[in-house]
């Protein structure tokens, strides 16, 4: 057992005052540790001493210290065996032999086989959709497969459809990101020029029509890119989805499969979903059932909310809040137009007999700026400023960036915003999100 190799070597701890624990891992085992959540939690540092190991598909450098902040849940996996030092006090740390990594690696091998074939036949590469309920490690599997693909020289695309816990941009958006290098062990994928669309809420259920529309938009843009970029085409894409697998959420998955024309669907740990998808997707789509890792931790509502908050903070202040310096300035109400996507529906009694309305979910409703705007996150749409005609394109236009309203002065008709760039705003069409962010800390 690998755990027998654990020995306390606290006396020669090089990090000032931190407890040092050494773990020796056998081949194909993984060290799982969690850093305590909360403000006061101590960071944990990890160092690879001998052998080779990887964290979610990204290889570790030997003798380099990796720092993990509060709430991190990390698995260090080794194919060959290694020894690792942990400095600091993780909440839990144990070595597990039971990991589905070999299954995931085989999945990668199959996908890589498909990419090879695509390269040979001058066709497009595999498009993979990862589905499953919440807390089964969908994002981690995506990261793993993307990192492996990059490491064998592919250029896959990550399509992030999880509006609650987006790995690319702030929550409440769907996005696509071309992956050019493996994920950073601490930070994740480097976010450069992602394609982001405004959704506005943390669950697709609030506006399922818009969600499906944006999925189609992303699919469209991705297909365009594949036509002009051979590498991207061969690399294919990996689609991360929401954990909502019932009712409309399931319909959204089927729609996504159809929009992206997926070749492979990876179902994580949900046999019923697997069978449903087998039934509802045409036969040429390969549906694969995979187990979840035992290391996956269920996250509480608070934990998800904190993660969302952290993601927004990261957008403005950079990773760990040190790299970026956002700007704060005033924007006059008269200079911007604020919209919300999805009009309130007309009461049925106002409709002619036998008519129903269905398109209002995609329409723009002007929002009158008021005090209730405070703390809302606003997306700056890249739609051209100008005529009414442009209005149509706003929903389908990607987002340039995000601002947060920190203060509203109704008397002078200005609002103070937190922005990643100095004034002026690049565009003046703003889309309001349900998500709020308070710039504290």
């Amino acid at each position: 057992m690998a755990t027998e190799g654990v020995e306390k070597t606290s006396e020669d701890a090089p990090a000032a005052g931190k407890v040092c624990t050494r773990f020796d891992l056998e081949k194909e085992t993984e060290l799982r540790f969690e850093v305590e959540a909360g403000e006061a939690a101590e960071q944990v540092e990890m160092e690879l001493l001998t052998g080779m190991a990887e964290v979610f598909g990204s290889e570790l450098n030997r003798n380099k210290k990796y720092t993990f902040g509060a709430g991190s849940k990390i698995a260090v996996f080794t194919w060959q065996g290694c020894s690792v030092n942990l400095y600091g006090k993780p909440e839990v740390a144990y070595v597990s032999k039971e990991t589905p990594m070999l299954l995931y690696l085989n999945t990668h091998a199959a996908l890589e086989q498909m990419r090879k074939q695509a390269e040979r036949d001058n066709e497009r590469g595999p498009r993979v959709m990862v589905v499953g309920p919440t807390d089964v490690g969908k994002s981690t599997v995506c990261r793993l497969l993307l990192s492996y693909a990059v490491r064998v020289g592919r250029r896959p695309t990550l399509v992030e459809l999880d509006v609650g816990q987006s790995g690319v941009s702030v929550p409440g958006t769907v996005s696509a990101l071309c992956i050019e290098r493996p994920a950073d062990v601490e930070e994740g994928f480097s976010v450069q020029a992602p394609l982001v669309y405004h959704f506005g809420s943390t669950t697709p259920g609030t506006n399922i029509k818009l969600y499906n529309k944006l999925t189609s938009c992303l699919a469209e843009v991705f297909s365009q890119r594949c036509e002009v970029n051979r590498k991207a085409s061969v690399g294919g894409c990996i689609i991360n989805t929401c954990g909502w697998v019932k009712g409309s959420g399931y319909q959204a998955l089927v729609h996504c499969a159809s929009a992206f024309q997926v070749d492979v669907v990876l179902v994580l740990d949900h046999e019923r979903l697997y069978n449903e998808l087998k039934r509802d997707l045409p036969h040429f789509v390969r549906v694969v059932l995979l187990p979840k890792s035992g290391g996956v931790v269920e996250r509480s509502k608070e934990c998800r909310r904190d993660a969302r908050d952290e993601k927004i903070r990261e957008y403005f202040y950079g990773f760990r809040g040190v790299t970026f310096y956002p700007f704060s300035f005033e924007v006059r109400f008269s200079d911007v137009r604020i919209y919300k996507i999805g009009a309130p529906s007309i009461p049925d009694s106002c409709l002619p007999l036998g008519m129903s309305q269905d398109d209002t979910q995609l329409k723009l409703v002007p929002v009158t700026p008021g005090r209730d705007l405070t703390y809302h996150v606003l997306s700056v749409s890249s739609a051209e400023d100008g005529e009414e005609g442009v209005r149509k394109g706003i929903v389908e236009s990607p987002v340039c960036g995000f601002i947060v309203v920190t203060n509203v002065d109704t008397q002078t008709q200005v609002m103070k915003v937190l922005s990643p760039a100095p004034r002026p705003l690049p565009r003046h069409t703003l889309l309001i999100m349900d998500i709020r962010f308070m710039d504290m800390k």
Binding site: W79, T107, N275, R286, P344, I346, P352, P398
Partner: protein, 530 residues
């Protein structure tokens, strides 16, 4: 101090000292104001009514004729300056200075209404020609057409007693409508100081200079915005342009409904309950094996050679996966065989938690729907493009609005496919309309018949009230008499325009009884976000 004994000489009066018993009597007097009760509807010449009236009158007179006793040391001394219609303070002001009075040329002054109010409160003793004025004198001298009328003073006193801070309204200090449009800071203090500083420059030039400075950021916006974004969005620019041209609307609706295309199909036998429903499904269902079935159109991927570790289809795979080709793996890894069988036992088999409503819906769906791949035509499809073509062929026409409703002369008020906010809808129905008191007010010529008299500030601001920078008044008072005509719409609009966004309240005085009226704009309900 004594109100009545005017015949006394100055020295006697000034040195009048009350005996202890008199003082005690004055101090222990009831301070209650007699309650007047309800008015009788009309005089009925009865004795009872006459008596009641007399009694009330007596109470009233005795209250007025009562001697007010104050400590001399508590009284602030001041003199009446008739030439300026103003009261100049002679001794240091009391606490009232926070909200009343003003200084000029190093002297402290009170406006006549303020002085009179303070006299009534027993805070002030005003001398004229060396003699102290009684309250009655004060009423006679201070209230005139040059200062303020009795009715205006009554309103002033009433509001002061309620705790409000009341200042005279000066229309020249109000920002003009032009300044309001520009959103200039409305502090009275600032504008005054600005004017003071730039006395040499004409007032028009200052206002234009501020206007240009505020509008510069506007103009610079348009130039810089392009450069900053082009860089970033370059990558997907072409795709977006393409997208905008495309009518993706129809495409979208077609594809979104693919899962439901066969709702009218015969019921499937798929009703086995419990956790084994998928097992039976998998066994009885030929569609499941379709990826290997020779009858189906073959996909470009040959999943017989591309092997996924699929825990779902046990029947197709051995329990073990051969080790993958190292050339496919990152870092040229070599790994052993993979045991799928052990994992298949660990897969999540727990039932999905669903509400009863959801469960019913699901059941219903299962009964109506069957496997897509049972369809022969679907099995012939080799890829998504063919499949989607098939689906859109089957989809048929889409539903639009019922055309017949728009054919005739009378059409529905609103096309339900267009989004509309509640406010707009109400506007369309136009049973009632919003009103705006300020509408057209700017073109009305001024008249002197009605004017705003006072700025009123709320009592809770008194603690940090600054006379030099009083901020925005809570409301403005226009004093009317009950006997004079009602202000017409013209006057209302004019006053409202003069006051800007601060409500104008009409104080109507009826023999000392004051009632307040205000006119409010009516707004149709609009959507409030969220």
């Amino acid at each position: 101090m004594a109100d009545q004994n005017k015949t006394d000489t100055e020295g006697q009066f000034y040195n009048e000292i009350l005996s202890p018993s008199e003082l005690f009597a004055a101090r222990s007097r009831s301070h209650k104001i007699p309650v007047r009760g309800q008015k009788d509807f009309f005089p009925n010449d009865s004795d009872e009514q006459r008596q009641r009236l007399e009694q009330t009158l007596n109470e009233h007179w005795s209250l007025i004729s009562e001697e007010r006793v104050e400590r001399l040391a508590n009284l602030v001394k001041a003199t009446w300056v008739p030439s300026d219609q103003i009261v100049e303070l002679q001794s240091p002001a009391g606490k009232f200075w926070q909200t009343m009075g003003f200084s000029a040329n190093g002297k402290q002054y009170l406006l006549p209404e303020e002085a009179l109010y303070l006299m009534e409160c027993g805070n002030l003793l005003v001398f004229y020609k060396g003699l102290p004025l009684s309250i009655q004198d004060g009423y006679e001298r201070f209230l005139s057409s040059n200062t303020i009328s009795l009715q205006q003073y009554q309103v002033f006193g009433h509001l002061k007693r309620l705790g409000y801070v009341v200042h005279r309204f000066d229309s020249s200090l109000e920002p003009s409508s032009y300044m309001r449009q520009l959103n200039l800071p409305q502090s009275r203090d600032k504008t005054v100081r600005q004017l003071k500083r730039k006395r040499s420059a004409s007032p028009t030039s200052t206002s234009t200079s501020t206007s240009t400075s505020t509008s510069t950021p506007l103009s610079s916006h348009t130039e810089t915005q392009k450069e900053s974004t082009t860089e970033r969005m370059e990558e997907d620019k072409c795709s977006r342009e393409y997208e905008e041209d495309k009518k993706s609307e129809s495409h979208f609706t077609a594809s979104s409904e693919t899962p439901e295309f066969q709702t009218a199909a015969t019921s499937s036998a798929d009703e086995a309950a419990g956790r084994h429903w998928w097992m039976s499904d998998a066994l009885t269902d030929p569609g499941h094996t379709s990826d290997h079935s020779p009858t189906s159109g073959s996909s470009r991927w040959d999943f017989r050679s591309i092997i996924f570790p699929d825990l779902g289809s046990r029947e197709h795979h051995p329990g073990r996966l051969a080790s993958p080709d190292p050339s496919l793996l990152p870092g040229a890894l070599t790994v052993g065989v993979c045991d799928v069988a052990t994992w298949s036992q660990r897969i999540n088999l727990r039932k999905v938690k669903m509400s009863s409503k959801e469960e019913r819906r699901e059941e219903d769906k299962h009964r109506r729907r069957w496997d897509v791949n049972k369809d022969k035509e679907v099995r012939q499809c080799r890829n998504w493009t063919e499949y989607q073509e098939l689906m859109s062929r089957r989809q048929g026409k889409q539903k639009g609005r019922p055309e017949h409703l728009w054919n005739r002369e009378v059409t529905p008020l609103h096309d339900p496919r267009q989004p509309i906010s509640t406010g707009e809808l109400l506007d369309k129905i136009s049973v009632i309309k919003s009103t705006n008191l300020l509408e057209g007010a700017s073109s009305i010529k001024g008249s002197d018949e009605w004017r705003i008299c006072f700025n009123v500030y709320q009592p809770d601001t008194v603690a940090d009230f600054k006379k030099s920078n009083p901020g925005k008044p809570y409301s403005r008072m226009c004093v009317c008499s009950f006997h004079s005509p009602v202000p017409d719409l013209r006057a209302l609009k004019l006053l409202a325009f003069q006051s800007g966004d601060i409500p104008v309240v009409f104080a109507v005085v009826d023999h000392g009884d004051i009632s307040f009226y205000t006119f409010k704009d009516f707004q149709l309900p609009t959507d409030v976000y969220p």
